[in-house]
């Protein structure tokens, strides 16, 4: 399968808003989605790679990446009116029902690949965990969270940049 090129002009830098993280979970019988990053100024997916390097007797290095444990922190993650994920996590926090934190499906949408017509490239991670790290702050209530991606990945595309997108897995030939 050919590598898809970026939908950017030569030398154009991708705006941060083109890398989108979306959480999906079930409330009752309905599926809910929410984009993460509202009021967050800086957030990156950290791969926390397990690296092993050996050196042979000639002095050559051989490096292996054994695994990655992708994680993304959102700090601040403010308690905001209308945030369903915030309300959902706060409900878990109040009940200390921590086992309910690993039921998320996460989508990483790379909107700098693809277009409106063909869809945008995305990765779907099932069985992910979102943890709340603290609650409090100074003027506004901050409830920073961390997303732990499962690496159970399905690559595909989303048809639009909105909560009601449809995810279509890539067809492997």
């Amino acid at each position: 399968m050919a590598v898809e090129q970026f939908n950017l002009m030569q030398g154009q830098r991708a705006e941060r808003k083109l890398l989108i993280t979306v959480a999906e979970w079930t409330e009752g019988t309905s599926q809910v989605r929410e984009i993460l990053g509202t009021r967050t100024e800086d957030s990156s997916i950290e791969y926390n790679a397990d690296i092993e390097t050996t050196t042979d007797i000639r002095g050559n290095n051989y490096t292996d990446m054994n695994k990655t444990q992708p994680q993304q922190d959102f700090d601040p993650y403010l308690i905001l009116g209308g945030s369903r994920l915030g309300a959902f996590l706060n409900d878990i926090r109040r009940r200390n029902a921590v086992s309910e934190l690993n039921q998320f499906t996460m989508y990483i949408i790379t909107a700098f690949i693809g277009n409106k017509t063909d869809g945008y490239a995305a990765e779907k991670h099932t069985d992910c965990t979102i943890t709340y790290n603290s609650i409090g702050g100074d003027v506004r209530v901050n409830f920073p969270i961390s997303v732990y991606f499962s690496n159970k990945i399905t690559t595909g595309t989303v048809n639009k940049l909105s909560d009601d997108f449809e995810f279509t897995p890539d067809v492997t030939v």
């Binding site: 808003k17 100024e41 800086d42 940049l161 909105s162 909560d163």
Partner: protein, 161 residues
């Protein structure tokens, strides 16, 4: 986005202290008991950019008030009933009204995609810029700077259903 100057002027017309005296837009002519809404250079700036494409922005403007100045010294007054103090209090009423709206989270509407977070005067008291003694009666110029902080969501690419 709606014309924020127009929106702000309409909003300020709800202030009793402004209703009592004429309000002019970008027309700072010295005239007793008048208020002037002045736009200032670099009135818009982005404070923060967020990862979802929204931006926190600040919009600033100034209200200038002209009040006549009394020559009566306070020490000679029988009671503390000084015209200058009264004039200052009438400008202070504008400051208090704006900050009261902020306390009550009662803000003007900048239109779809914009959410005002705060609207505050920069100082807690009106600033006396100076007194023009070349006119009769002499006029004191007071100013109040107002900062409106708002969230601009118009550059977001994600839409919420």
């Amino acid at each position: 986005m709606m014309d924020k100057n127009q929106v702000m002027i309409q909003f300020l017309m709800g202030c009793p202290a402004i209703q009592e005296t004429p309000l002019f837009f970008n027309f700072a002519q010295e005239e007793e008991d008048t208020n002037h809404f002045l736009t200032i250079s670099e009135d818009e700036k982005t404070i923060k950019d967020f990862v979802d494409g929204s931006r926190l922005r600040k919009y600033t403007f100034q209200i200038v008030s002209y009040k006549s100045v009394s020559h009566n010294p306070l020490v000679e007054a029988d009671v503390i009933n000084d015209e200058n103090l009264e004039d200052l209090a009438s400008v202070q009423a504008i400051v208090d009204w704006i900050n009261e709206q902020n306390e009550n989270q009662f803000f003007p509407n900048f239109g779809t995609g914009y959410t005002i977070e705060s609207m505050k005067t920069v100082q807690t008291d009106p600033r006396l810029n100076g007194v023009d003694t070349s006119v009769n009666p002499p006029l004191a110029q007071y100013s109040v700077a107002v900062e409106v902080t708002y969230l601009d969501k118009t550059k977001m690419i994600w839409s919420t259903t």
